[in-house]
Each structure stands twice: as structure tokens, then as C-alpha cells.
Symmetry: C2
Subunit: 334 residues, 2 copies
């Protein structure tokens, strides 16, 4: 049984993007409309990063989650743009925090317009999003989105404090991933479910689904930093360790390598000094210890968990699409 | 006729603070309670700036505005703490933008914990405020506060773009003051009025009252940068021009001085290079042209306008207090 008017079989992420192109185009149009303000610099800076090839995965999840409950109206699509505003605000601030020069193969906003503009335009995008979300007059949506933003900020602070801490536990690492990434993905799905008229139980299922997807997404992303084809990722390998950021492959390696290798790694993490030859050695150690395979298997566990929350829903184009997005989360660019 | 149980005559700002000490203490307690999170650094950094002697003028205005309509309950006082969170978030980001080392005579958070912590804790305070405001389930309050935040961010961007622009108009300067300062003061008063059960017309009157107070406050603050006793202000004179920031006294001077003085001033603004001797020359020119008196008289005009919106209300402790706060806005530390 399907709640969608046209059910056809979808097989790839490309087909999912294509099937929901009209909705995503409307999200895109609303992004542009709501960038206008008294300060043209806001549009310029925000457009630079918003047009740099982001996939709009969160708006897509919002759309699919609403569709899962048979919701076909388009009155809520602005929310998809606003979730993208919030995501973009965190990227602008992240790039200042990380002193990043490149994002998706393109100069970062802070490189072009400076840290000041990046901080302030981030603030603007975030508050513009909250102001327009408030205009929907839905308390649940207000609270979910504001709470997600709070957790994201908390996650960023936790990550800052964890920097260069070689004794970081996997539990603490996963808490950071949950706060900085999974929370907003979970919120996108839950808000979609609310729009779609889901019951509280169904809302919780979609929230868990999004949480698991978000966890898998970040774990896969952290793994890519040690294994991606750098021309596809648009940045060079090993950025995380060079900034003292400890992610799952490195955590696994620290816990499984020899004491002398561990001492050497801790020194590299402490001093943020890793040259290309040393990175090669780290990658070799990771392959030997199975650290990359471990990170992949942990990401896959989250994807498997997400499937459980989808299973209860009747077959539909939306359900099939959500399953495809799940797989895409751990299989991109590898 | 008074809506307050005890009406006594108040004469000074000290007496106003004293009369509303119990409410302000509760605001203070709620500030501390809601700083707790998974990241102790948030509490440390936020407490550093929140305990640095800020007057809590916005929470006081919220309380007085609710009292003006006879509201005596204390269930809304958390909102006062949250307005202070939002104000503090902007200060944390401002200090990063301005590369400031001192605030109220104390090292800035960015000097002690770095720019990264200041940016992220600012983000946290802002989003924590929005999350807790949402929990009041009042659409008007959500929209007023979110809109104020959006305007503040927009005002900061406008100010950044106006930096070193000697051809800034007074109109553009006043728009920046409105957005970055007056909006949040207006919101504090309007939200207080809503809590107090004011009619829409009364809400608008309190919003205008707060707007005029906020304008006067910022104009007086900008004037103090050229005339304050630096030991009382906790920072040295002439900070604004040294950062290329053009405020009302300088705008007036630029418009009234001789062409050669104007060229010299424009060069100083363009290069941000003003030594102590040059600052003395600027201050002397300002006194000669009446630039400081002009700024004071413009601030007083806003205070006079604020009095018009108070006039219609019956006499009460709250009304008397609001009038005293008005005067305090343009007469502090001079």
C-alpha cells in the first residue's frame, strides 16, 4: 500500500534526487528569497557557501518524512530552507574555528571576506531561521529546532574541549557526533513527521531514524578523512589529526596499537604536526589494525538500526527513498 | 491611582535597583541555573562575562514593563535571564569581531579562553535562550525575540560594512544603532507588556518607549567614547575611531569641520591610526564644533520621545521607575 500517487521503483540516489526535484527546487528558491536583508554582504557571503554544492540532504529528509505520512502539500517547504540556513550557519562558524581555507574544493567564506563577516553572517542565518520558524506558530517545531541548535552549539564546545585529548573515550566521541551532527538530522526527520500528521510514536520513530542516519553520516565522514580520494572530497587527507581532532579511526588505532606507536601518535596529536610521510605511516597502521574497517562497521550498525524504524511503515515511494538515502550515507565518495 | 501594592516615591537609579532587588536576584539565580550543560567550559566562559558587572538593564525593563500593567507574579522572570543571555552572546561575538582585550575593565573572554571558545559559547547562549523562550509557548514572544536577534545580527553586519566609510550618513548610522541596540531594548519592554496583559496598543507604546531608550543609550555610549572618565568606563578613550567605527560625534565633526580637517580625519579613519596626540586634536575639534553637545542633544530627543509614551499611563512605582531609568540612560558616567 502506498500513500504516494505514483509509486515506481527507485534504485539509486540519483533517482531519489530526481523524483523530488520539484520540491527541492522550491526549497532552493526559498533559500534565495530569504537571504535578502538591508545588508547586501549577507546575501553575498551566504550565497557563496549555500551555492557551493551542498546536497540539501536535510531538506530532502524533511520532505521524505512528511511524504511517508502521505503529506503532499508544499506549504512547509520553507522549513527545509531554514534547516539548511541553520546547517550553513554552523559551517560558517566551523570554518572560522578550524581556520579552514577550503570547503568542497572552494575557498571558504572566511578566506574571501574574513572571519568577522563569517561569524556575523552565521549569526544572521541562524537567527533568520529561528525568526521564520517561529512564524509557523507550531510549538513542537519551535522547540525541536531550538533544542537542536542548542545541542549543536554544545557539541561544538565539547569538540573544542576534546581537541588534542588523546584519552578521549569512544563514548565521549559519540556524544560529540550526536550533538554536532545527528541532532539536526533527527530534527529534520521529526519535523517532517509532524508536518505529515504522524502520531507521537511515529514522530519518535522518525526522530530515531534521523539520529541513526546522522550518526552514520558523521562516522562515515570522519572515516573519509583517512581514506577518501582527495580530489572528490575537495580537501586533503588527514585534516582532522592535523588539527588535533580525534575521530573514530584514530581512537581505534590509539587503543589497539603498540605502546611505542601510541606514544608517537599522542605526540603527533599534541603538537598537531603531521607531515605527509607521517600521515602515510598512520594510514598504514590504521590498515594494519583494521581501524578503518572498524569505523565502517560502526557506521553500518547505525544504518542497520535506522532500518528497524522504517520497517513498520507500509511500502511507498517515500519509504523506499529513505532506505536509499540511508545506504548513501555510508557509501558516498569511497 | 496605582497598580502596585506599595507606592513610594523613588528619586534615584539606586532606589530603583533596590526596589526591584528581589526580582533581579531571581533573574540572577536563573542565569546561573541555565548555564549548566555537558560542557563545563560553557559555564566558565559565560560566567566570566555575565559576572563582570553588567547592570541587567534589560531584565529590569522587562520587570518594570510587566509591573506597569499590575503584573506581580514571578513566573516570567526566566525571560529576563534569557534576554541577558542573548545580550551576552552578542558581547562575546562583538569582542571577537573588535579584537577587544578589555570589557568593563576586565580581560575579555577571548583574551582568556580564545576566539574559538568565545564564538561557540556565544552560539550556545543564544540557542539556549531561544530553546527556553520556546518553552513559554507564546507565539508573540517567540516572534519578538527571534526577530530582535535577527535584527541584531543584521545590525552587526551593517556596522561591519560601514567600518571606515567616512561618507556614512546619519540615517545609516541611526539604522545601525536601531538594529544592534534599540531592537533588544524595545523587545524587553514589549515582552514585559505582553506578560503584564497589555492591549496591542499598550504593547506598541512600550515597544516605542524601549526603542527610544535603546537609541538614547547607544548614542550616549558612543558619545562617552570621546568624553568619559576612562577609569570609570573601564577602557581608554577613542576606541571607536581607532577601529574605524564612525559614530555620531565623529559624523557631526566630519560634516562641520573645514575641508582640510575633513581630509585629515578621513585619512585617520581610513588607516585606523590615531595616536594620543591626534586624539587630543580630534577631541578639541569636537568641542569647538559642538559635536559632543550635538550627540547629547540627539540622545535627549530620544529620551523626550520616550516620555510621551509613558505619559498616558497612571502613576505607579513602575511608571516612576521607568522614567528614572530613562534619565539614567543619558546621564551615566559623565
Amino acid at each position: 500500500m502506498s500513500t504516494d500517487p505514483v509509486v515506481k521503483s527507485l534504485d539509486s540516489m540519483e533517482e531519489v534526487w530526481e523524483a523530488f526535484r520539484p520540491e527541492l527546487n522550491e526549497v532552493e528558491a526559498k533559500i534565495q528569497t530569504h537571504l535578502d536583508s538591508h545588508a547586501p554582504l549577507i546575501h553575498t557571503v551566504a550565497d557563496h557557501i549555500l551555492s557551493s554544492g551542498g546536497k540539501r540532504i536535510r531538506p530532502l529528509l524533511l520532505i521524505l518524512s512528511a511524504r511517508l505520512f502521505g503529506y503532499l502539500e508544499k506549504d512547509y517547504l520553507l522549513l527545509g530552507s531554514l534547516i539548511e540556513f541553520i546547517h550553513t550557519a554552523t559551517l560558517l562558524h566551523d570554518d572560522v574555528i578550524d581556520e579552514a581555507d577550503l570547503r568542497r574544493g572552494k575557498q571558504t567564506a572566511r578566506r574571501v571576506w574574513g572571519n568577522q563577516a563569517s561569524i556575523l553572517v552565521g549569526d544572521y542565518l541562524y537567527s533568520q531561521a529561528m525568526a521564520l520558524i517561529a512564524s509557523f506558530h507550531n510549538h513542537d517545531i519551535n522547540e525541536i529546532m531550538a533544542d537542536a541548535c542548542r545541542k549543536m552549539a554544545e557539541g561544538e564546545v565539547l569538540q573544542l574541549c576534546a581537541n588534542s585529548q588523546s584519552d578521549l573515550t569512544e563514548e565521549a566521541y559519540l556524544k560529540i557526533v550526536e550533538y554536532k551532527t545527528a541532532t539536526l538530522v533527527a530534527a529534520s526527520c521529526k519535523v517532517g513527521a509532524i508536518i505529515g500528521g504522524a502520531t507521537l510514536e511515529e514522530q519518535m520513530a522518525l526522530s530515531r531514524f534521523g539520529f541513526n542516519l546522522g550518526m552514520a553520516f558523521q562516522l562515515a565522514d570522519d572515516r573519509l578523512d583517512y581514506s577518501a580520494d582527495h580530489t572528490r572530497l575537495g580537501k586533503s587527507l588527514g585534516q582532522d589529526i592535523r588539527q588535533g581532532m580525534i575521530t573514530l579511526p584514530l581512537l581505534h588505532l590509539l587503543q589497539t596499537c603498540s605502546p611505542s606507536e601510541q606514544s608517537w601518535l599522542k605526540e603527533k596529536i599534541r603538537t598537531h604536526s603531521v607531515d605527509d610521510q607521517e600521515l602515510e605511516r598512520i594510514l598504514k597502521l590504521m590498515r594494519a589494525q583494521g581501524s578503518l574497517a572498524y569505523a565502517t562497521s560502526r557506521a553500518r550498525e547505525y544504518i542497520e538500526a535506522s532500518a528497524l524504524d522504517l520497517a513498520a511503515f507500509p511500502n511507498s515511494l517515500a519509504k523506499r527513498s529513505l532506505a536509499i538515502v540511508s545506504c548513501y550515507m555510508v557509501n558516498r565518495d569511497q
